[in-house]
């Protein structure tokens, strides 16, 4: 199963030229700066705007080709807009029922009760939208889109209208969609932070052109794109909770790279988590260090080196199938004689755990 979308859209001087093939599962993030055409593409996928010569297919269902244009109200999509857009004349529960009543989809069926629990909005059901906080409104909007039982959930920067605190309040709910939902999600965002937390697949859009499309862990560390050569470049490593060390309050995790040690997290053993490692927090040594306070040290092989500005380089390190970026000075790279295929040790100073 896959989703295939092909659009060529001209808007004044701007042209969007996208030909996407993305998996019909998990979360795909369309990532790019504002003005890169993300929302235009998402609206075209939803059928909210009609563009000639477009093509969109999800699984076996064609929504648009030369002779077909299925209007948005006949597509099994859920759409979460930047602004929550709750119906002002309806209570929260009536908002949720609006789509549920009109759903003709028997697949992926999730009960409204389950959705309401998932987004934790039970206490809001009888309220009118204007008395809800921005974060609550957006949670209701997500619930409303899910209650329609879509085959595909489209989210257009659902957090961008919220302040930082509210973003942190909602992100866990979106992360939970990831594990709880069986349907694919296309999530438009310009925030690396959001993408790192929730995306499995990433499509990088720059000025209307698809620069990259692939698994997030691979794209972030590929060194072929700006995102992996940025000041804030980072790597993602999938890991599993192995053990807890109550004496030192630590949690041990297993990954392709090896055994990570992080501050104790209240997660059951076996939980899948995502580790996020900033390139600036990774250093390289030629031999395994012993007299060091750093616990996360792994053998790895250099696969690629790319310059970052004038004084620094980004080094891509591989172990098994996982990769980590390290940002070091050009001088250090020179002294250590770093080069592709060289075997080294990486020291990871700090790891953020995204659960």
């Amino acid at each position: 199963m896959s989703i295939h979308a092909k659009f060529q859209i001209k808007k004044g001087t701007f042209t969007l030229n996208a030909d996407l093939n993305i998996p019909a599962k998990a979360i795909t993030s369309i990532f790019g700066k504002s003005g890169s055409g993300k929302t235009t593409l998402l609206r075209a996928i939803a059928g909210l705007d009609f563009h000639k010569n477009g093509y969109i297919r999800i699984g076996e269902t064609v929504w648009q080709d030369k002779n077909i244009f299925v209007p948005p109200h006949k597509r099994a999509i859920g759409y979460v807009f930047q602004e929550p857009g709750l119906f002002r004349h309806l209570s929260v529960i009536k908002n949720i029922e609006y789509g549920q009543k009109r759903s003709s989809n028997s697949k992926n069926s999730m009960s409204p009760g389950y959705i309401i629990d998932l987004l934790n909005i039970k206490h809001l059901l009888d309220r009118q939208p204007q008395y809800l906080s921005g974060g609550e409104q957006q949670r209701v909007a997500i619930a409303r889109a899910l209650a329609y039982n879509p085959d595909l959930l489209l989210m257009d920067e659902p957090l961008s209208s919220l302040d930082e605190n509210l973003k942190l309040e909602i992100l866990p709910y979106i992360q939970s969609l990831h594990t709880e939902l069986k349907i694919p999600i296309i999530y438009v965002s310009h925030s690396t932070d959001e993408v790192a937390r929730i995306a499995d697949h990433i499509v990088i859009l720059e000025e209307g052109i698809v620069k990259a499309s692939g698994l997030i862990g691979e794209i972030l560390t590929s060194l072929d794109f700006n995102i992996s050569r940025d000041e804030n470049a980072e790597s993602l490593v999938e890991a599993i909770v192995m053990d807890h060390d109550n004496k030192f309050s630590l949690t041990y995790l297993d990954s392709e790279f090896g055994k990570f040690t992080v501050g104790q997290k209240n997660l059951p053993i076996g939980t899948k988590v995502r580790l996020r490692i900033a390139a600036r927090d990774v250093s390289i040594t030629l031999a395994a260090q012993t007299g060091t306070s750093i616990l996360n040290i792994f053998p790895a092989q250099i696969s690629k080196i790319a310059p970052v500005g004038r004084s620094q380089v980004m080094v891509k390190l591989v172990s098994n199938k996982a990769s980590i970026l390290a940002r070091v000075t050009r001088k250090s790279a020179n002294i250590l004689d770093l080069a592709p295929n060289k075997k080294v040790y990486v020291q990871v100073k700090s790891v953020a755990l995204l659960a």
């Binding site: 939803a46 909210l48 209007p71 948005p72 109200h73 006949k74 597509r75 999509i77 859920g78 759409y79 807009f81 602004e83 857009g85 119906f87 002002r88 004349h89 609006y98 789509g99 009109r102 759903s103 003709s104 409303r144 889109a145 329609y148």
Partner: protein, 227 residues
């Protein structure tokens, strides 16, 4: 009660006229206002100007042209004649036709503003939740524009009750048939029957005031003249 038989019939004719006119205006005005609120038609300004004409034109001028058009030699008169319909000048039907044109801007403007205020997003949200265009109109647009409908109905009604020049020209002031309250008041004053004039004026004043109170109570930001 001081009111005579003709005063009573003038009151009934006025209310009948205002109710029919309001009903027709809402039926015609809804699609027209919806189209005007969405269209990117280049000559929309011309249509706006035509609809707004009754706001600035002396009612007698409008009534005069309508009388000519509705008469047996007028283009509407000839058109109706070929359809086998009698000329409508000096009839109640003629009054309704004139009132609909005269009060059109009072219905179209509030409806247009209300439709604009619904916003594109609410409609798109409904579309993504499986609502067809007609479904969206009845379940999202009309409920969200309800204040506009209320204002339009009340203004259309009140403005029709208050008209004078147009109905005098087209209706011809036939007691019991086309004589409305405002003209009956004028006749009473001409004949120095101030007590009757007081009663009828008082009734009109009360109706109008109650209607405006209800508009402002429902829609606190309401302005008769839109900026």
């Amino acid at each position: 009660m001081i009111l005579n038989e003709y005063d009573i019939s003038a009151l009934i004719i006025t209310l009948k006229l205002a109710l029919s006119t309001t009903f027709i205006l809402l039926v015609l005005g809804t699609p027209l206002s919806w189209w005007l609120s969405k269209t990117k038609f280049r000559l929309k300004f011309l249509i706006d100007a035509v609809i707004a004409l009754p706001l600035v034109l002396p009612p007698t001028v409008l009534g005069f042209y309508l009388l000519i058009a509705f008469g047996p030699d007028g283009f509407i008169g000839i058109l109706l004649d070929t359809l086998g319909i009698k000329p409508i000048a000096f009839t109640f039907t003629g009054l309704i036709a004139g009132s609909v044109i005269y009060s059109l801007p009072f219905v179209v403007q509030p409806l247009q503003d209300a439709f604009k205020s619904v916003g594109k997003q609410q409609i798109e949200v409904a579309a993504t939740l499986g609502a067809s265009p007609i479904d969206r109109f009845f379940t999202v647009i009309i409920p969200l524009a309800r204040h506009g409908f209320f204002t339009a109905a009340v203004l259309g009604f009140a403005h029709t009750i208050g008209e004078f020049g147009v109905v005098l020209m087209i209706g011809g002031n036939i007691p019991g048939e086309t004589q409305v309250l405002s003209i009956a008041i004028y006749d009473h004053v001409e004949s120095l029957e101030y007590i009757n004039a007081h009663w009828l004026s008082g009734i009109l004043l009360c109706i109008s005031f109650i209607m405006l109170i209800s508009i402002y109570a429902v829609n606190r930001k309401f302005r008769i003249v839109q900026s």
